[in-house]
Symmetry: C2
Subunit: 353 residues, 2 copies
């Protein structure tokens, strides 16, 4: 029999950050699709919408009016999932019905006054002001003693449960480290204990740079950041954006690193939009050091989890086997990276031909 | 300050089966929803569709014709995610780029010849023949030495990525135990080591039966099975169906237990359809002992993961914070159980008034 071919034979790949497996079935993209289709995100939006509760000057659900803001604008979520004040829940000491109270804060961060302007069409300085806003919020929240973790994220597009199309991100700060970052932190810590010479993500960056030619999972780089479709990617066009040097959190980044992060954000979101010529949906978020304690082993990184698989309307469903058995993907990470590399960094709406 | 109220204050609950946390924000259902709406599954389907590749007598993608089957019918998936023959992948001995080859089989199980008949409207004897088919397949596959695990599941509805509306389930058998059952098996084993008197799920059933009055997470029971919205449920109307006695796998079940399982399947799917008067989407699957080796500590159970939250068209999205931080739910499991208990076991389409 011939030799094993990652582009044709089923295999599972190990995610060392979450210490879990992903099944990859590369031949499976050929199956016919008669299932659900998303509505493609190509409607034209006005740059101001009088009914939008995020646009400047408009009224919010709680009765407040937004200021006539001109850059990014952050406020407390009117429907916060966690709140700063609630009664304490005494420890249940129960191994079957175990619960903990969760206090915290939820913020909304409007990227710009414009109702129609996503990161993919913003300039680097405009995006840099989002990065500054994230950094400020992280720093301010780390002064509150009861807050242990700050999760910054963006849900983009109706397909990703976004409930308002005005480009915005969210921040949920909580008195515990949530499940997913805790799992990653445990893995980073364990790796460092086994490899006194270095960090899992530092070593992974070096490894991908070394194997660039054969494997090609790198989408693009600049001086301080790199964007990779990780070897263990789950979503079809998932990417990992990370600093080449070890950086634990946003406040530890230099001015140049922040600009380089803004540059990466512009370029990856623009490539995403160009892939299927639509406003590409995704959930994106930043993992970094928790705000209390010593997390020198944390390596800041951003995950992009986009659902589309074949076109602007056909997504990957993580259902059935994925929920009950094991996460599963169709195209290989290497194929996805090649397609993203082939995308332009000029937004399709602004092309001159 | 007043005392902690699980129906009003944010908390996280621990899932002892997967050893992970779920954030519960019960007050959050009040937020307005301007996001995506599903198309409600209320179209009338014919009982035979000449273009359906699952209906009796019709041609499939690979050119074969289905027999004119009259009960359940199982065949090899024409677009299998895993295959029985492929070259071996030598161990990569690599802690950053780690992969394993995966051989296996994928089967499709048509529930009945009828294109329009879901479990919610089938009779108990009709569903019992699905349970028999599952048992047979599990037994036959356990004779193949390279197969280690058999995952039986159903994706129902376009919202759950189902690519053909003819009611059917799937079975993916693999040469490794997939991630999710492995995580559960590890937890069951660890629990038994700490509690020589019993099994996590046996004890959980007893606990829920004891707390029935105050807590009310039990939806319904029959002689051998119980259906619970587990304390740690993630999806709004998630349920766990499990035998009251310790049973490791389908072939170990008595004839009566299989009938009781069929009865449970009919009643829970019927209640689900009645909840929002639509064909209720879900992914469902069976966790049981792997097919090779000694797994006396396994306790067979079925998970139902349904996405709908507020109505036939508004679902819960597990995005953003859920993907990057921690799984999150809005209504409490106790509220969900109360609503499912209030649903009839007569299908809304068949009501006489
Ligand atoms: O096999 P199907 O029904 O074509 O596909 C469906 O179920 C599979 C198994 O859960 C998933 O991997 C697919 O994403 C989903 O669309
Ligand atoms: O807060 P939003 O935008 O109203 O809601 C969206 O993001 C939240 C955080 O990821 C999710 O919990 C919701 O399911 C989703 O619809």
């Amino acid at each position: 029999m011939s030799t094993f071919d990652f582009n044709n034979h089923s295999h599972r790949r190990y995610n060392p950050l979450t210490r879990s497996w992903v099944l990859c079935s590369p031949h499976r993209t050929q199956r016919p699709w008669q299932g659900h289709r998303e509505s493609a995100q190509i409607e034209k939006r006005p740059n101001y919408d009088p009914t939008c509760y995020l646009c400047p000057g408009n009224q919010r659900a709680n009765g407040d009016h937004n200021p006539t803001y001109t850059s990014t604008y952050s406020f407390h979520n009117d429907f916060a999932a966690v709140k700063s004040h609630q009664p304490a829940l005494p420890d249940t000491h129960d191994d079957l019905l175990r619960a903990e109270g969760v206090r915290g804060e939820c913020h909304v961060i409007c990227f710009s006054p414009r109702h129609d302007l996503t990161m993919a069409e913003m300039t680097v300085p405009e995006i840099a002001s989002i990065v500054d806003q994230w950094t400020d919020s992280y720093e301010r929240l780390s002064q509150k003693e009861y807050i242990k973790h700050v999760q910054i994220f963006e849900n983009k597009g109706a397909a990703m449960g976004c409930s308002n199309p005005h480009p915005h991100g969210q921040l949920w700060a909580t008195e515990q480290i949530p499940q997913e970052p805790q799992v990653e932190l445990d893995a980073l810590k364990a790796y460092q204990q086994d490899h006194p010479d270095g960090c899992l993500l530092c070593n992974y960056v070096k490894r991908e740079q070394r194997e660039k030619e054969e494997q090609g999972r790198i989408v693009m780089e600049n001086d301080s950041f790199i964007c990779i479709v990780p070897f263990w990617a789950l979503w079809p066009f998932e990417t990992l954006v990370l600093p080449k040097d070890h950086v634990v959190s946003l406040p530890k980044m230099s001015k140049q690193q922040k600009l380089d992060l803004a540059d990466m954000l512009r370029r990856i979101t623009c490539r995403y939009d160009n892939l299927f010529e639509c406003s590409f949906p995704y959930s994106m978020g930043i993992h970094q050091a928790p705000v209390q304690g010593d997390y020198e082993y944390a390596h800041l990184h951003l995950h992009f989890y986009p659902p589309l698989l074949r076109s602007a309307t056909v997504r990957k469903f993580l259902v059935g086997f994925e929920m009950l058995g094991e996460a599963q993907r169709d195209i290989t990470p290497e194929q996805a990276a090649a397609r993203l590399r082939a995308c332009s960094e000029v937004h399709y709406k602004h092309r001159l031909w």
